[in-house]
């Protein structure tokens, strides 16, 4: 039942995007996230759509899998939309009913906010769909390396991250197993009031906690008995290398995002081109 989570799940196919260096993808993802906040027109979002669709197409991940990732923030989306619609009091009044007043600017603002959030999540999930968690942690470690000169424990941080990530699948599996075992004893997680449902989770949580502690202890033992020491210089099993793919990928994204930044920077002098800022 927990296997349906798409957000952050690696989609194993071989593609241009999959083969790009994780560090390049990570930097591009950050650029993407920042860039989204410089878009404030529908034309800009259309421009971004072209970029995102191309990237998804090249990654060979089915569009459906990427769109599925929005499911997780659906509530948030609707909530922000409603807030924006009702609390923006600018532009032309479209509708007025009791204490509610809806303005056209409010609708526009809400629509843009929803687009922004949706694209935010779709972009980041494209990163995790095409990059394994292990590669991602290595990339983060490598990018944070400069911080180790000011005694920041980069390696330890990366280790904690990769251990956490590597335990997620086994925790999910364990949870699944415990749920099945308790279901076999007639446990019911789907009916009853809130109180009853919360109580129904005790038989899952306690065994899960017990086994997590046991796993953590066993792991610590195993690492200790092999004299693991984080601070000494360690080499990596998988060497990260930039390739022509990364150059192409970066250039491609730059084309789109330089345009976005330019349009943003020139908004004062180009304001008369109204379609550009609609």
């Amino acid at each position: 039942m927990f296997r349906d989570v798409t957000f952050g799940q690696y989609y194993p196919v071989d593609s241009f995007v999959h083969r790009m260096d994780a560090r390049a993808k990570l930097i591009l993802a950050v650029l993407y996230l920042v860039g989204i906040f410089f878009i404030n027109s529908f034309v800009g979002f259309a421009w971004l759509t072209i970029f995102l669709l191309t990237a998804i197409f090249v990654s060979k991940v089915p569009l459906k899998s990427v769109i599925k990732s929005i499911k997780g923030i659906l509530v948030l989306l609707i909530f922000t939309a409603i807030l924006n619609v009702f609390f923006t009091q600018e532009g032309n009044l479209l509708l007025s009913w009791w204490i509610f007043k809806i303005y056209d600017e409010g609708l526009k603002f809400a629509a843009k906010m929803m687009l922004r959030l949706t694209y935010l999540v779709m972009g980041t999930s494209l990163l995790t769909l095409t990059t394994t968690a292990v590669d991602l942690t290595h990339a983060i470690e490598s990018l944070l390396k400069p911080l180790s000169y000011i005694k920041f424990p980069v390696h330890e941080l990366a280790l904690i991250m990769s251990l956490t990530l590597s335990f997620i699948p086994s925790l999910i599996e364990e949870t699944d197993r415990i749920i099945r075992a308790q279901k076999a004893r007639g446990a019911d997680f789907d009916t009853g009031g809130i109180g009853q449902r919360v109580k129904a989770f005790v038989p899952i949580l306690i065994p899960l906690l017990v086994s997590s502690f046991r796993r953590a202890e066993e792991l610590a033992f195993a690492m200790n008995s092999r004299c693991y020491e984080g601070s000494t210089k360690r080499t990596q099993f998988r060497v990260q290398k930039f390739s022509w793919r990364d150059v192409v990928g970066v250039l491609f994204q730059l084309v789109f995002f330089v345009a976005i930044f330019v349009v943003f920077a020139m908004q004062d002098s180009w304001a008369h081109v109204s379609w550009l800022y609609f």
């Binding site: 197993r177 075992a181 279901k183 076999a184 004893r185 007639g186 038989p203 065994p207």
Partner: protein, 286 residues
């Protein structure tokens, strides 16, 4: 009343890159009171199959009827099925959660909606059945027991629901020889004295050979053999090809037969073989 499986197929994560075909046209019937073992190489679909029996995995295609309940029917009575078919998973001690042994064992019966008097009786009986002393153990925390004791408490938690069918997925994994023997003796007793149908998944061919009266061999999600232990393990070469081992007693009997000792059919234990050989001694030259 019995278990009837027809054309059962199951695919994990259909239509995704993780798609795995786990069951392939499984057809079989298990009558009341049978002791059936399911064996097969790892990943052959044993666990997937047995979890169908109490509707933990719902039927994708095919039909499955357990004691007259149609499990392929979306709206069958899940509570009834789960009280009818008790399921003991691998390492069942990992599912213990309550403060005391008594509370943990009564989890199942409580969910089944039994009355408190009934529950008290069932719980006490189940704990004693698995060979633990009720008075000393009832107020202990399940987490302070030894591994073998924990497993017995978990087993009691299933038995307290008084299932008519008991499904065990590798019940003796990770136990010492004495612990193994105790669990198997208990299961056999339930089968023989109370007529509980036992379906046991196991990798230990020796324990299968000694206990089961019928063996189902699975390979890549399909049933490839469904026969008695004696007939199955007479096919030594086939068994080895499927990455299974031949039990010691079967190897021994096969060896004797190869060397022209005319053992009668159906001898399995050391005693039976000894008796047969002694009986043969009179007539032929051993």
């Amino acid at each position: 009343m019995s278990i009837v499986v027809k054309d059962l197929n199951y695919v994990y994560n259909p239509k995704s890159p993780f798609e795995t075909r786990a069951l392939h046209n499984v057809n079989l019937t298990i009558e009341d009171g049978e002791f059936v073992a399911i064996v097969g190489h790892t990943g052959s679909g044993k666990s997937t199959f047995v979890q169908h029996l109490n509707a933990l995995i719902r039927v994708q295609s095919g039909s499955l009827v357990v004691n007259g309940i149609n499990l392929h029917d979306k709206k069958c009575d899940l509570k009834k099925v789960r009280s009818l078919v008790g399921m003991v998973f691998q390492y069942p001690e990992n599912q213990l959660f309550a403060d005391t042994v008594a509370q943990d064992v009564e989890f199942g019966p409580k969910n089944m909606g039994m009355s408190q008097e009934e529950i008290d009786v069932c719980v006490k009986n189940a704990v004693e059945l698995v060979g633990l002393d009720w008075e000393t153990v009832k107020n202990k925390s399940p987490f302070e027991l030894s591994g073998g004791e924990k497993r017995r408490v978990a087993l009691a938690g299933v038995l307290a629901m008084q299932p008519k069918v008991l499904v065990l997925d590798e019940p003796t994994a990770g136990l010492d020889p004495v612990g193994k023997h105790e669990i198997l003796t208990l299961v056999k007793k339930l089968n023989e004295e109370q007529g509980v149908t036992v379906i046991m998944v196991s990798h230990d061919m020796n324990e299968v050979y000694e206990n089961a009266r019928r063996i189902i061999v699975m390979k890549d999600g399909a049933v490839v053999y469904d026969t008695t232990p004696e007939d199955l393990f007479a096919l030594e070469d086939e068994i080895v090809k499927m990455n299974l081992e031949v039990p010691y007693m079967a190897q021994f009997c096969n060896y004797l037969r190869k060397h022209h000792v005319k053992l009668p059919k159906g001898v399995r234990t050391v005693d039976e073989v000894l008796k047969a050989v002694n009986a043969l001694k009179g007539g032929s030259n051993v």
